[in-house]
């Protein structure tokens, strides 16, 4: 296998010497936020965003490779050029827009929800609230006056609620749904849902206007022919927010 890839690398190098560079786009994702993106049991990136990303690349005629990166350093590594896009359930917010650029949304703004142990007091959304670091949920908790407890990965916020470290945890509702449903009554949604952010877009470098343009065209065509809504339905169920 190594010999084979060596062969292709050499082949590519020989080609690039004469022909123009091929357009490989490296797609960065977290791989820890099902159903948006996760690493399946085969060790591959899987989930809604894998499907959307592959379809975007096919429509924009780009050759794409998936790269996994920790959430906390996902923006710095985009900016320093280790990969070319962030497609990791990242909501479009003003703070992020100041550092990187976003494509149009490929997922409408969907509700975030608080989860706590079954029977928890609804007032606990103002108690100790767990959220993943550098997310819109974390900044919402910080500004809501509740005590924020930050974690590196979304899974750790669930564990924090289960073992009583945090009273509740805030994340995208779509992330919670399977977890709450399969908890056997241990976990419950607490209080009202809230809508944060302007939907989820593909993050690109500010200097990468060309790639952004290609992605926007592909997203528009996926919205137009209903493919995007079909994918949302497949991964998030009938009741998920869709594009008009």
């Amino acid at each position: 296998m190594i010999l084979k890839s060596l062969g292709t690398t050499l082949g590519v190098m020989a080609l690039t010497a004469t022909v123009a560079m091929s357009d490989t786009v490296r797609m960065g994702t977290e791989g820890a936020y099902p159903p948006y993106n996760f690493v399946n049991d085969k060790g591959e990136i899987d989930g809604f965003e894998r499907e959307v990303g592959d379809e975007l690349c096919a429509r924009a005629e780009l050759e794409c490779v998936w790269v996994k990166n920790e959430w906390d350093s996902i923006i710095p590594n985009l900016v320093s050029g280790n990969y070319d896009t962030i497609i990791a359930g990242m909501s479009i917010t003003e703070e992020r827009d100041a550092v990187i650029d976003f494509s149009d949304a490929y997922f409408p703004s969907d509700p975030s929800a608080y989860v706590g142990l079954a029977g928890a007091d609804p007032a606990l959304i103002n108690g100790v609230v767990a959220a993943q670091i550098n997310t819109i949920q974390a900044s919402h908790v910080a500004s809501s006056g509740a005590q924020l407890m930050e974690f590196a990965s979304p899974d750790e916020t669930v564990a924090a609620v289960r073992n009583g470290q945090a009273d509740t945890a805030l994340a995208d509702k779509a992330f919670w749904e399977p977890i709450v449903a399969e908890s056997g009554g241990e976990l419950e949604f607490i209080g009202e849902d809230i809508v944060l952010g302007d939907g989820i877009g593909v993050g690109v470098r500010e200097s990468d206007g060309e790639l952004k343009g290609k992605l926007n065209t592909a997203i528009a065509s996926m919205k137009a022919d209903g493919t995007l809504n079909a994918m949302i339905k497949k991964w998030f169920g009938e009741d998920a927010a869709m594009f008009e």
């Binding site: 190098m13 790269v67 050029g81 280790n82 899974d155 200097s207």
Partner: protein
């Protein structure tokens, strides 16, 4: 892995586990064991090399070399490791790409730093964007080895400098009276005799090195601890093998692994100490 694994949800406990523990994702974890061991084995000699350079530089008669050597050891020892693990690989990577950009794409006039972005031409990327995945992995791994060697080299340099000072003066004077030059004294007397004094310090560093491999994940290299956390976290039915939070079990296995490595290396160091103590005349030798 096995034929009966096609439908995991219908399996009995034993078969389920035999399938679960042999998924490609688990294979990546077993494979990361070799990554960790390779990192330790590669970093040790390079760190020792940095250490020797630092130790000799800080004893040099040339003031600039001495300042460089002392500066290296005090700065790296004083600043939190995590800063260097983040700084060295990114700085090295950007330096390499910067040089490649200047040589390969000298005709590109757009600046490399544009606002927040670090943009080099496609041909200057290291490795190239379309290079195979394993090239990216090996490159990342090598950057990690350099970062680890840089940090551990500084600690090593302090240990070695102390050990060199501990070689009895009489030995060096004997060498001088026999007409040996500075370099000969260093090569024939100081270095062979300092190991016994350096050993306790070096064995500490070795243990620290083994323990600090989880920092690898900061550099994008997937190590054992990363996989234990990823595989042990609770899995919903989006995964073929769903389960509750099993991190405790995974981390217990890791604990045993690290204890095993520690006990093996302690035995190794004890043997080395006995061997080096042979024929040395100082109290405490057995």
């Amino acid at each position: 892995m096995f034929e009966y694994c096609t439908d995991p949800k219908s399996l009995e406990t034993f078969q389920w586990f035999s399938c679960y523990l042999t998924t490609p994702k688990h294979m990546s974890m077993y494979y990361s064991l070799f990554t960790v061991v390779a990192l330790i084995l590669l970093t040790a000699p390079f760190g020792l090399m940095f250490g020797f350079m630092g130790a000799f530089a800080s004893r040099s008669k040339n003031m600039i070399v001495r300042i460089l050597g002392k500066g290296y050891t005090s700065i790296v020892r004083g600043v939190p490791d995590i800063v260097f693990f983040l700084f060295v690989p990114i700085a090295l990577d950007q330096a390499i790409e910067f040089i490649r950009h200047k040589t390969l794409c000298w005709d590109v006039t757009e600046p490399i730093w544009r606002g927040n972005d670090f943009v080099v031409c496609r041909a200057a990327k290291m490795p190239l964007s379309d290079a195979a995945v394993w090239t990216h992995d090996v490159y990342g791994f090598l950057l990690a080895v350099v970062a680890f060697a840089f940090v551990f080299g500084a600690f090593c340099s302090n240990v070695l400098a102390g050990a060199l000072k501990s070689v009895p003066r009489g030995q060096i004077e004997a060498g001088r009276s026999m007409g040996l030059g500075e370099r000969q004294i260093r090569r024939l007397i100081e270095v062979p005799q300092m190991w016994i004094y350096a050993l306790p310090g070096l064995s500490n560093l070795w243990q620290l090195l083994i323990k600090s491999t989880p920092l690898l994940f900061l550099l994008g290299v997937e190590d054992l601890v990363y996989w234990a956390r990823e595989l042990g976290g609770s899995k919903t039915s989006a995964y073929a093998y769903s389960h509750a939070d099993w991190r405790l079990a995974y981390f217990t296995v890791l604990l045993l692994f690290y204890l095993l490595v520690t006990s093996i290396s302690q035995r190794g160091f004890e043997r080395m100490r006995k061997r080096l103590a042979r024929g040395q005349n100082f109290s405490g030798a057995s």
